[in-house]
Symmetry: C2
Subunit: 245 residues, 2 copies
């Protein structure tokens, strides 16, 4: 039996303001919770309706709730049978981090589904990290976590002023546009940052000023652009192909 205050607290976590105040975030759904547990993520609290919780490891601490209580705490019109609360941890970006390995940097990507898809792509191609500008969709928004599948728990993510971070590195900074070098001729950069801009408007001026190489995905038909996830994935595939690993 949840108290009114507990219900209120869980419900409040749908808003970023309250997530930041409490340092907590919510994720709902048996599949995504199982994926995150499988990826080694440790939750602070788990709430389950009767019979749910089979995806949890043996002896994982669970608070049983009624279907009615779950409906009241859920962030969705159709509640899941499992809701978990995790602690927000934001890793600072240590100096010179971008100098080593491959980084995917998102500059104001607003759509939570796109941010989640981009985390999944970074995970698939084993990029070393993802860097978010502060105006991206919030990493601890449920829609980001759901769209990332389990990748939310496997990818190292930093949130930082992107233009400042790029100013401090000397590795190639790759942007996508329609007049760059053919991505099929991409050199084997072992250390590089791939920057992806906001849906619709693209890279911000301060980040654009830090791009050292523009690459272009050859276009054959009439579409004006590809979406952020598709463009990032094609660049990553070509970069991994050039690197031969």
């Amino acid at each position: 039996m949840l108290t009114k205050a507990e219900i209120q607290r869980l419900r409040s976590l749908r808003e970023k303001k309250h997530r930041e105040e409490l340092g907590l975030f919510v994720v709902e759904g048996e599949k995504v919770i199982a994926e995150l547990l499988g990826a080694g993520f440790a939750f602070e609290e788990v709430y389950a309706t009767e019979g749910a919780g089979a995806v949890l490891p043996p002896r994982h601490r669970v608070t049983s709730v009624t279907a009615d209580e779950m409906a009241r705490v859920s962030h969705f019109p159709t509640p899941s049978r499992l809701l978990a609360v995790g602690r927000i941890r934001r890793a600072p970006l240590p100096p010179r981090t971008l100098d080593r390995g491959l980084t995917l940097a998102l500059d104001g990507v607003q759509d939570a589904g796109n941010v989640g898809t981009l985390l999944r792509i970074a995970d698939w191609f084993a990029l070393d990290r993802v860097v978010l500008s502060p105006d991206c969709a919030d990493l601890f928004n449920q829609k980001v976590i759901n769209a990332s599948m389990g990748s939310f728990a496997r990818v190292t993510v930093h949130t930082t002023d992107l233009a400042e971070a790029l100013a401090e590195t000397s590795v190639p900074v790759l942007g996508c546009d329609l007049a760059g070098d053919d991505v099929h001729a991409l050199p084997a950069h072992p250390h590089a940052v791939i920057v992806i801009g906001r849906e619709g408007s693209g890279l911000s001026a301060p980040v654009k000023a830090r791009v050292t190489h523009y690459v272009t995905i050859p276009r054959f038909g009439g579409a004006e652009s590809l979406n952020a996830g598709v463009a990032a994935a094609i660049v990553c595939d070509n970069l991994r192909r050039a690197l031969g690993r």
Copy 2:
């Protein structure tokens, strides 16, 4: 001033059943309507609130409506200032069509946003056509049209029994899985069908039985899969690269 019956008719088009009965579909939003007009699509009716309609060509026929009327006919909680009605045209798939050129075939892709994104990818890579199985998201669903950007009007789309259509062609049928041939070594197939399966469950058994070649996008990290659009785009990029055009 719209009559009650007109409002009722426009509202009803949010449901596939009514779209099929009337042979009409709705699209809302100045940007997408401008894109479709730019791609040569002719609408049957256009409704605009005062001052909207600037994206329309000179002398395009427009019915002026009040903001209140638009709110009543709109399919969205936040209505646009422009709503257009188009006629549903479904091109039958002529025999032996799949024998020539490049086809993207969607097998039960349920998510309207994914179907739209896949149309946009087919357009970017100038595939000759997209074939939808009848259980895909409805092509005339607004979310499909919005996600496709203008590509809805530029790509030739057929809806047909996919396994039957594949049974009648002798060109390579390419499926994606985790144990196929490296997509980076894809031969230059000038005629081929790329099949993309349902989110989560993949290809249906009858379509799977028609796949002649499996291709794999090399994976380096922990993600279990890529989403449908990302996988299709990487296969298309590699196929175009192999073809050299």
